[in-house]
C-alpha cells in the first residue's frame, strides 16, 4: 500500500524534468558567453538568462565533482565578471533554478517580464530556510 505511492512519485519526478545536460543561452545572440561556458571543463551543462544589468547562469556539475561545488561556482563567477564587468553575475548549481530558467526560455519572455522573473529566481536562491 505504501510503496505504490512511492512508485507513482518516482515516475512523476523523473518524467517532469527534461534532458539533463542541455546547454542554452537566452536571449541567444551572445555567442561569446557560450564560448566561455563551453570552455569550462568542470560543468556538463548550463542555462543562462541575461538582461540589461544581471547575468544569471545555472550550471550542472557532474556528480563526482559536486564536492567542490562552491569552488566551481566561484571560479565561473569570477571569469564571467571579467567578461561582463558592468553586469551583476550570479552562478548557481541548483535544480530549481535550472527548471525555472527552462520555463522562462520556453515562454520567450521579453525585457520587463524577464527582469521580474530573474528577480524572483534570485530571491528564491537566497533563501536559507
Amino acid at each position: 500500500m505504501k510503496n505504490k505511492w512511492i512508485v507513482i512519485l518516482l515516475f512523476l519526478t523523473l518524467g517532469a524534468c527534461s534532458d539533463a545536460s542541455e546547454r542554452s543561452v537566452y536571449p541567444s545572440q551572445d555567442v561569446e558567453l557560450e564560448k566561455v561556458l563551453d570552455e569550462q571543463d568542470s560543468i556538463i551543462g548550463y542555462k543562462s538568462l541575461m538582461d540589461d544589468n544581471t547575468l544569471l547562469v545555472s550550471i550542472e556539475i557532474p556528480t563526482m565533482k559536486r564536492f567542490s561545488k562552491v569552488k566551481i561556482e566561484e571560479n565561473i563567477k569570477k571569469e564571467l565578471e571579467n567578461q561582463y564587468p558592468n553586469k551583476e553575475v550570479i552562478v548557481i548549481d541548483d535544480l530549481k533554478v535550472r527548471w525555472e530558467i527552462e520555463k522562462i526560455i520556453e515562454k520567450e519572455q521579453e525585457s520587463k517580464e524577464l527582469t521580474k522573473s530573474i528577480e524572483k529566481i534570485l530571491a528564491l536562491s537566497k533563501e536559507e530556510t
Binding site: I6, L9, L10, T13, A16, D94, L95, K96, W99
Partner: protein, 151 residues
C-alpha cells in the same frame, strides 16, 4: 567458581552478534529511506518553490510524518528489528522515538504523560546537538577572530 571462571563461561556462551549481516541490513534500509528522502526533495523542488538547499526541511517533516504513521500502526518496531541503525539513524528514527514515547504515555494524561515524556528518548539528541554546535561555533569564531582560520 570464582568470578574469572564465571566470566569465561559467559563469554563462551554469549552468541556472537552477526555484525556483517546487521551492517548490510542497516545499509539497505538506511539507503532506501534516504532514497525516499531524495525523491521527496525532487517532489518538493518540482511542485513547490524550494531550492535544493531548502527542500531538506519539508522532506524532514514528511519523513517524520511517515514515521508517525508507521509507528502508530506498529510497523516501525518490526522494521527496526530487521534494520537496527538503518531505521534509527535517519530522521524517521528521531520521529519514531518522539511518537512512540507520546503514544506510550497517553494513559498518564496529555499534559503530564505525553507532554512530560515525549522527549524522553529524543531529548538527548537535541541537547547534545545544541551543546556541540555551540562549542564548535564558539571555537571556530574565536579562531577566525585570531585569524588562524577563515570562514
Amino acid at each position: 567458581m570464582d568470578q574469572k571462571q564465571f566470566e569465561d563461561i559467559v563469554d563462551k556462551q554469549n552468541p556472537k552478534t552477526p555484525m556483517f549481516t546487521n551492517m548490510l541490513k542497516a545499509f539497505l534500509v538506511g539507503g532506501i529511506i534516504c532514497t525516499i528522502g531524495q525523491l521527496l526533495v525532487f517532489f518538493y523542488i518540482r511542485f513547490f518553490s524550494f531550492t535544493e538547499r531548502t527542500a531538506a526541511n519539508p522532506t524532514a517533516a514528511t519523513l517524520v510524518f511517515i514515521a508517525m504513521l508507521l509507528t502508530g500502526f506498529g510497523y516501525y518496531k518490526k522494521i527496526s528489528q530487521f534494520a537496527g541503525a538503518g531505521s534509527a539513524v535517519p530522521i524517521t528514527g528521531f520521529g519514531n522515538s518522539v511518537v512512540s514515547a507520546a503514544i506510550e504515555h497517553k494513559t498518564e494524561g496529555y499534559v503530564l504523560g505525553v507532554g512530560g515524556n515525549m522527549f524522553k528518548l529524543a531529548g538527548s539528541v537535541i541537547v547534545f546537538g545544541v551543546l556541540s554546535a555551540f562549542f564548535v561555533a564558539l571555537i571556530k569564531t574565536i579562531l577566525v577572530k585570531i585569524g588562524v582560520v577563515s570562514w
